[in-house]
């Protein structure tokens, strides 16, 4: 069981690290932001804490809305920013609690993207709660309005650190397939074959990233598309 927990924890580690880097740059002077972040995390926790989370969500939300209409928007913006800042952790928790690889992979990807986006905002200088929230909203409106596309973060997390941790997370994601509820992962010959194939093709992808960056997206998508097609053909006709 402990092996499974370690594997899942490693899989969500990149999100936690990026979130930590984001929080280090964030100004937590608005306590409503802390309240928002904690309540959102609590609501995804165990049943007993969930009720506490509901209390912590609805009461401050109602109170900050009252304050907003009273002419004091800072608590409302702080609470909303707290929710936004906690979202990568919530996605990471959902991924951690997932029981299948597709769920873990989806949670991992979503949490990673949100964490990177928030890091980009914080690294860009928006450290105050109001600034973080308004920047995100502005980006969202710009994206939907086709005006300013700011989805690709201009300020990325440290590439070397993140490459190492993401590499470990990738191996953890693969190991999760073989993980058992109790005991060590059950490694089959097919798992080893697939692992080696993934490492080999990732090596080619890495070389493409370094030397032919413009070709990378097309190459990676092409390989995955071909493999998907091959899998479909083999399952449907070849090995029918």
């Amino acid at each position: 069981m402990i092996v499974g927990k370690i594997v899942r924890f490693t899989a969500v580690l990149p999100t936690l690290v990026i979130s930590l880097l984001t929080y280090l740059k964030t100004d937590f002077s608005n306590y409503y932001m802390v309240l928002g972040a904690v309540s959102l995390i609590l609501i995804t926790s165990t049943d007993r804490l969930k009720w506490a989370g509901v209390g912590l969500v609805y009461l401050p939300a109602a109170y900050t809305v009252y304050l907003l209409f009273s002419g004091n928007p800072a608590p409302f913006l702080g609470l909303a920013t707290g929710y936004v800042l906690a979202s990568p952790i919530v996605f990471a928790l959902a991924a951690y609690n997932s029981r299948n690889l597709s769920g873990l992979l989806t949670g991992y990807f979503t949490a990673y993207v949100f964490a990177t986006l928030l890091y980009s905002v914080a690294e860009g200088g928006s450290t105050k709660p109001e600034a973080i929230f308004t920047t995100l909203v502005r980006n969202l409106i710009g994206f939907l309005g086709r005006d300013v596309v700011n989805v690709i973060p201009p300020q990325n997390p440290p590439i070397f650190l993140m490459s190492s941790i993401t590499g470990a997370a990738t191996i953890a994601l693969m190991l999760f397939t073989a993980a058992k509820p109790d005991g060590l992962p059950h490694i089959t010959s097919e798992w080893v074959g697939a692992f080696l194939a993934a490492i080999a093709l990732m090596g080619i992808g890495l070389l493409t990233v370094i030397f032919y960056q413009w070709l990378t997206p097309a190459m990676l998508l092409g390989v995955v598309s071909l493999l998907t097609l091959a899998a479909a053909v083999m399952l449907r006709w070849w090995y029918a």
Binding site: V151, I159, T166, T170, L173, E190, A197, M202, G205, Y239
Partner: protein
């Protein structure tokens, strides 16, 4: 070969995320990570599919067992399906069975197990059949799933098995009904001897000819004579030829158990007694097109008759005249049914037609047992309808639960007269 639900979700997730990571969100570590996991998952699926494709149905031993020899309507029975891994490798299997229209009352139709070589798993469930007929069991479907539950191979082990469900026996037979007198009847027949019963009548002793059975040899005569073998010859003279004309219409589906089931039950029971007495019984179902006749010469043919009756499906209506155009030669015939589609004159014509061939026709109209006011009211209406037939010779109303005893009584009368 198929993907499991989880395998399909993973494949779709991998492709979608790779598409997103290479077009909208391009952050090299995340993109390469998503790509690597996708390649891993897809390669694993392909390699596993290749391995599972080598597993054939011969890798499994299969048996199905019922805890009863004869299944009757409403009676619960247990089915045990056992699957054995005959291969040399452990296999993760999901065994599913199909029970057609049977009602499952206990247990599950699916079992999942990781089978070591030579290990077995048993799927056990209880069910019952709501009505008489032929039900299908199976075919059992085995899904051999890979270790991580992403790919599975589907194997169908055998064809469907037929389960013949017999009508339930009519409960609480009444003694008074069983011994009540039947009306005097005109009986025809070719029998010569009441004394010898069904035993064959001795005709002569003759010399043995090649091909004759040894059991026919008269050993006493042979011993007394000069070494030649002699055989006894017998004539079968009082074997009755009996015809059952059974209406198989939807009008017989009333009651619980249905009248039709009671009729079948009685016909089977009486036919058994008749063939054990040496008679030849022909059962013809009225309303069934094609293959509607079965002749039973001995007890070995009873099974065929049972399956024949069980598999029959009632029709809305039939034409008595058309169905009885060719009847053959019989000593006695029993027409059993509610006669909803029959007019009295048609019945009289049939009776006359059979009489000319030396056959006597008995018509039995089964009636439901009444237990409440509504049923009694319906029974009165039924009596009014049936009344027009009762003036014809040898027509009688018979209670549902005493059909068998009534038929047996008629048979005894016939044998005594033959």
């Amino acid at each position: 070969m198929r993907l499991t639900n989880e395998g399909f979700k993973l494949l779709a997730t991998c492709f979608t995320l790779t598409l997103a990571a290479t077009t909208v969100i391009v952050y090299p570590p995340l993109t390469l990570s998503t790509y690597a996991v996708s390649v891993f998952a897809l390669t694993y699926i392909i390699l596993t599919a290749r391995r599972l494709s080598r597993i054939k149905s011969t890798a499994f031993g299969f048996s199905r067992r019922l805890d009863v020899k004869m299944v009757r309507t409403g009676e619960r029975f247990t089915v045990e399906v056992t699957l054995t891994n005959l291969s040399e490798t452990p296999l993760h299997v999901v065994l599913n069975d199909v029970v057609d229209k049977l009602v499952l009352v206990e247990g599950s139709l699916s079992v999942e197990e990781r089978l070591q070589p030579r290990q077995s798993v048993t799927l056990r469930y209880r069910a019952y059949a709501p009505a008489r007929g032929v039900y299908r069991l199976g075919p059992p479907v085995i899904r051999v799933v890979d270790e991580y539950g992403l790919v599975c191979r589907v194997l169908v082990l055998e064809e469907r098995a037929n389960l013949y469900v017999f009508p339930s026996t009519v409960e609480k037979p009444r003694l008074s009904e069983g011994v009540k007198a039947v009306q005097n009847v005109y009986v025809s027949g070719t029998g010569l001897s009441v004394k010898y019963g069904v035993e064959d009548v001795f005709r002569e002793v003759s010399e043995y000819e090649e091909g004759q059975p040894l059991k026919a040899v008269d050993w006493r005569r042979t011993a007394r004579m000069d070494g030649e073998l002699y055989v006894k010859k017998f004539d079968r003279v009082n074997r009755l030829r009996i015809l059952f004309l059974v209406e198989v219409t939807k009008a017989g589906l009333v009651g619980s158990p249905p009248l039709l089931d009671s009729v079948f039950d009685a016909v089977m029971a009486v036919t058994k007694a008749m063939v054990e007495s040496g008679d030849i019984v022909t059962v013809r179902l009225l309303g069934i097109t094609g293959g509607n006749t079965v002749t039973v010469y001995n007890t070995a043919g009873l099974e065929e008759l049972a399956y024949f009756l069980i598999a029959s499906k009632p029709v809305p209506a039939y034409d008595l005249v058309k169905e009885t155009e060719e009847t053959g030669e019989f000593d006695a015939a029993f027409l059993i049914g509610r006669l909803v589609n029959v007019r009295p004159e048609q019945l009289s014509q049939l009776s006359e037609k059979l009489r000319k061939t030396g056959c006597v026709l008995f018509t039995l109209i089964p009636t439901l047992d009444t237990e409440n006011r509504i049923q009694r009211s319906l029974a009165i209406l039924e009596d009014l309808r049936v009344g027009k037939f009762l003036h014809i010779a040898n027509v009688a109303k018979v209670s549902q639960h005493s059909l068998a005893s009534y038929l047996a009584h008629l048979h005894r009368v016939l044998r005594a007269a033959s």
